[in-house]
């Protein structure tokens, strides 16, 4: 039986290949994701280990708030460096400070786009310097800087060139004295600059401050021993780690912070595997139907049901194994593609040599084989139900099957189950990750439900979609429509595979459109009194310190009010709670939140020991107006704030809590303005121009009118949308392969019929047109199902967001465009089977022998 299964595979090469390819893509996506993310993790680990060169012990500030990327590095208490230096066993020690800065290319354009700030480090003694110098040497003099090799190459910086650098200080020019590398890495992913400590302190406006002390041990003192003695002399005022521990810690922080990438990519990989599963199921179902005669013959000759089952399962197993192996190899190719895709969307991450963990291979194999087996099992069971007597019957194309009422009931039950899971996930009060899993489960279950229901929908949909084809293409169009309806089950599954990808595309498109609409609404409703919004050019870094004051000098400006963002721990309210800071004396003139409890007066009278909170967050944590919130700030201070009002946080314009800027400066060590709101007289565009001129010392500050700001936000949403579309495209490709496969199988099945049509006068062109029209009908059925399902997802999922100002908005143009694309894709998918159908040998097809 085994040999028979393997022979069968070879006999049906094309089919095997197409089926296998569906598995290959899914598996490649899964392994590619692992390879890509593992490589990133390993690269960071490698980089941090190199950075810890010569460092036996590392002292950093205590981080009270566990925010992303390890949180903001906090300055060490004064005297820490001296205490370390005075500790026994310390051969050398130095203090370091790093800062996020912006650098500019020779044309004055900021480097790095939206991929993050440039990193500025202080350089000290040579023994702690991890860098190697491709050209020049260390920057030891004020006014000098070194630049990493990749940035130098990309931006054409040469030794001796000057480079414009902006931090909290106004931008200044520095002379490049060195081009650096870290090990074999030209870059850390972000531009990396080094200059003397005093200069870093100046740019960062942190005079005399350090965030890190590195120490080297005397000969004869181990790192562990030194760590112990430094800990003793610092007495718990700072965190002390060995160099190795610090490297591992930093790498883990980054790895955690980037974990979302892996999860997101795996979700998309999962979609591709799911779509592939549909394709495999269909191919096996059709193959089994076509081979029923062969199975019957085997049964007549004495094969048991079990042996028939085994032969089909073995076939699935072999396809699964081979395809998974190919998929794992494909994953190695896909990993760099993912890397450049992410880079093109602004997420440039370092990568040393490619990492292929044993886990990657095992998971890839398991995913491929299990998906193939599960998808092949149901058709295999059907093979066992073939009666031996069928061997004797004249082979006929199977007729139209009626769908049982039971199946209909099951389909509706499954859909209801999916909707239920969605609702529980949305309203059941589950935690973030639980809710996300429930949503995912709901979506998948609903997809299966609709796929079960789809055969019933094929006929009416084909009627509607086929009508224009029949009108313009005559008989071939008519036959195409009839053929699509002939095996509703098959058409349904093929269309459903396309539906999955399209539903997610539509969901994302609707969601993004809603997001844009809600951002616009919030800007109009809440920021309407502002004329300008001034932000950092990269969209997320804070603006330099002097910007707010500078703006006050612009003619026509009446109010300038800065807003800050940070994170803090709130007792009973969670860790790393997002927080906003405002200036009560000015904020009400330019900003009005949606009040749940309180008014603009509450905001105007907000004291430094008072706090406002998001009503939704407060409700879920049982905080009421008048109560006291105990907040631990990033500066590791624990303070009590009285809750004096509640606002509805919409579109994430504010954090969950809101305090005064004064408190943020004093108690949070947060002096940076995230954005500056400006009100003024006259045309906002003129005001924006004048503000820009006035801000020439701060090239990173971007003054935008509300309309420009809206456009900026919309562009960011669109960019994310583009990324999602790119990642879903693989699933759509798999689904198109499904159309190719199903049609190829149908053409094979209808050889005789095609021959007869050719004999009575159907031209090759008409044959091709007929197959093409069937593909278009199938693709459009998938598109219609996908659009409807995607819209339903979007409507359901956006329900709870309505409270946060989410406005549902259907992007009709995009949806129509999708339909057209689906039709074109159908035409493309039809090319190989149509060619095959047109080549059918009339003679062979009509002779009975």
């Amino acid at each position: 039986m085994l040999r028979l299964a393997v022979r069968g595979l070879f006999a049906r090469k094309l089919r095997t290949l197409l089926t296998g390819f569906a598995v290959v893509i899914g598996v490649a996506f899964v392994t590619g994701t692992f390879v890509y993310t593992d490589t990133i993790d390993a690269s960071f680990k490698d980089l941090f280990e190199r950075v810890s060169k010569g460092v036996d012990v590392n002292v950093t500030g205590k981080n009270a708030v566990d925010a992303d990327f390890g949180g903001r590095p906090q300055p060490l208490p004064a005297g820490t460096l001296d205490k370390v230096k005075a500790t026994d066993g310390v051969a050398a020690a130095e203090g370091n400070l790093s800062a996020n800065v912006s650098i500019f290319d020779k044309q004055g354009k900021r480097v790095g786009g939206q991929s993050g700030p440039s990193l500025l480090f202080s350089g000290g003694e040579e023994r702690f310097d991890p860098l190697t110098y491709e050209e020049g040497g260390r920057a030891t003099e004020p006014g000098t800087v070194t630049v990493d090799q990749k940035t130098a190459e990309d931006e054409d910086f040469k030794l001796g060139d000057s480079i414009l650098i902006a931090g909290r200080e106004p931008a200044r020019r520095y002379k490049i004295v060195g081009i650096t590398k870290l090990g074999d890495q030209k870059s850390l992913g972000l531009a990396t600059l080094v200059m003397p400590l005093s200069e870093v302190q100046k740019i960062a406006q942190e005079p005399g401050k350090i965030t890190e002390v590195v120490a080297a041990a005397d000969r004869g003192t181990s790192a562990e021993q030194l760590k112990a003695s430094i800990s003793r002399s610092l007495g718990g005022t700072a965190v002390v780690r060995t160099g190795k521990e610090q490297a591992a810690h930093d790498a883990a922080d980054i790895s955690d912070s980037l974990g979302f990438i892996k999860i997101a990519l795996l979700v998309f990989a999962g979609v591709a595997v799911l779509v592939g599963g549909f394709l495999i199921f269909n191919t096996f179902a059709v193959t089994v139907a076509q081979r029923s005669k062969e199975f019957a013959l085997l049964r007549t000759l004495g094969a048991s049901r079990r042996q028939v089952l085994t032969s089909v399962v073995v076939e699935a197993l072999v396809i699964g194994l081979l395809a998974s192996a190919a998929g794992i190899l494909g994953g190695l190719l896909l990993a760099p593609a993912l890397r450049s895709l992410m880079a093109s969307f602004g997420l440039e991450l370092p990568s040393t040599s490619t990492v292929v963990a044993p886990r990657t291979v095992l998971v890839g194999l398991a995913v491929g084989v299990i998906a193939t087996l599960i998808s092949g099992l149901m058709p295999a069971r059907r093979a066992t139900q073939v009666d031996p007597v069928e061997a004797m019957r004249e082979a006929d194309t199977p007729g139209v099957k009626r769908l049982s009422r039971k199946r209909l009931a099951i389909a509706f039950a499954v859909i209801a189950l999916g909707v239920a899971a969605l609702f529980v996930g949305l309203f059941g009060g589950a935690s973030g990750s639980q809710a996300a899993s429930l949503l995912g489960l709901g979506v998948v279950v609903m997809i299966f439900g609709v796929a079960l229901l789809a055969p019933v929908l094929v006929r009416p949909l084909a009627r509607v979609i086929g009508a224009p084809l029949e009108r313009f293409q005559g008989l071939p169009g008519r036959l195409a429509r009839e053929n699509a309806e002939r095996q509703p089950q098959r058409t349904a599954i093929t269309a459903s595979a396309l539906m999955i990808g399209l539903a997610l595309v539509v969901f994302t498109a609707i969601f993004a459109s809603g997001l844009r609409a809600s951002v616009n609404k919030v800007i109009d409703d809440q920021f309407g009194r502002s004329a300008l919004i001034v932000t950092h050019d990269d969209g997320f870094s804070p603006v330099p310190t002097g910007v707010a004051d500078q703006l006050k000098t612009v003619p026509g400006v009446t109010t300038v009010s800065a807003m800050r963002f940070d994170q803090a721990n709130v007792r009973g309210g969670g860790k790393a709670v997002p927080a906003s800071g405002v200036d009560p004396s000015t904020v009400t003139k330019v900003f009005e939140p949606k009040w749940e409890s309180g008014s603009q007066a509450t905001l105007a009278n907000l004291r430094d020991d008072q706090v406002l909170a998001d009503s939704g967050w407060a409700k879920s944590h049982d905080f009421k107006v008048g109560q006291t919130l105990r907040v631990t700030t990033p500066a590791n201070k624990t303070l009590d704030y009285r809750l004096t009002g509640l606002y509805k946080n919409q579109a994430g314009a504010l954090g969950n809590i809101l305090v005064t800027n004064a408190s943020m400066t004093r108690d949070w060590n947060q002096p940076d303005d995230a954005l500056v709101l400006v009100a003024g007289t006259g045309d906002p565009k003129t005001l924006a121009r004048e503000a820009k001129q006035s801000l020439s010392a701060f090239p990173v500050a971007k003054a935008q009118t509300l309309d420009q700001f809206k456009q900026d936000q919309a562009d960011q949403v669109n960019q994310l949308l583009g990324l999602v579309f790119a990642l879903l495209s693989l699933s759509v490709i798999v689904a198109l392969l499904g159309i190719v496969n199903t049609l190829a199988l149908a053409v094979f099945e209808r050889t005789r019929e095609l021959g007869m049509l050719r004999a009575v006068g159907m031209s090759r062109r008409q044959v091709r047109r007929m197959v093409r029209a069937e593909a278009v009908i199938t693709a459009l059925i998938g598109a219609v199902l996908g659009v409807v399902l995607g819209a339903v997802f979007a409507v359901i999922v956006s329900r709870p967001l309505a409270d946060e100002g989410f406005v549902l908005s259907i992007p009709v143009g995009t949806l129509i465009g999708l339909g057209v694309l689906a039709a074109i894709a159908g035409v493309l998918a039809a090319i190989p089977p149509a060619r095959r159908a047109a080549k059918v040998d009339v003679l062979r097809a009509v002779t009975t022998e």
Binding site: G474, L479, M756, L757, A759, V760
Partner: protein, 244 residues
Amino acid sequence: MTENGAPIVSTTELHRRFGEGEAAVHALRGVSLSFPAGEFTAIMGPSGSGKSTLMHLLAGLDRPTSGSVVVDGQELAGLDDRRLTALRRDKLGFIFQAFNLVPVLTAEENITLPTMLAGRKPEPGWLDTLVDTVGLRDRLTHRPSELSGGQQQRVAVARALISRPAVVFADEPTGNLDSVSSAEVLRLLRRAVDDFGQTVIMVTHDAGAAAAADRVVVLRDGEVVHDGASGDTEGLLDLMKQVA
């Protein structure tokens, strides 16, 4: 052309060889025949005699190794696929042993298939006449799976006649039918010749079927061994025994 006697299909020195070298099979070895319009010819012969090959060549479904086929004044050798397709659609009618109807179309649509493929409407009077002749008026909206074998073959006969072809080819049209249905189909073919002036060429190994024809051509080993007027079934059975 409708006048009896003028040849509507003729072949000269028709050869058809399958395969090359030692394994070559000579299916036809120099067949020259002519079929006058308005005649019902039966081509008979044992298995492997070349009768099906001959019909495929006459119908332009296959190309001869050498020799020529002229249908309705047109030499088939010079026609490309597109022209051959048009010829089949407009000038030829086909009836197959396995009925070969399109399962997704109704009986009426199957009948009008060749005209629909040409993008024309069938002549309404002609369609009515055909439907009444084959006796399927009450079955027109049925699909092939809802018809009996005999009914399906009657649909096929009507389909073969719908475009008033120059010649109708029937390949073992009674091969899959019971005797009652066979007789009905043969009666229809006879009427096509007698009442509508059609030309019919039928391949069969059934002497009973051949008895319905005007003329019988017998092939053996790729050569014509008998060509003459048809007789009764008994006589034809004897003839077959002689040539076998």
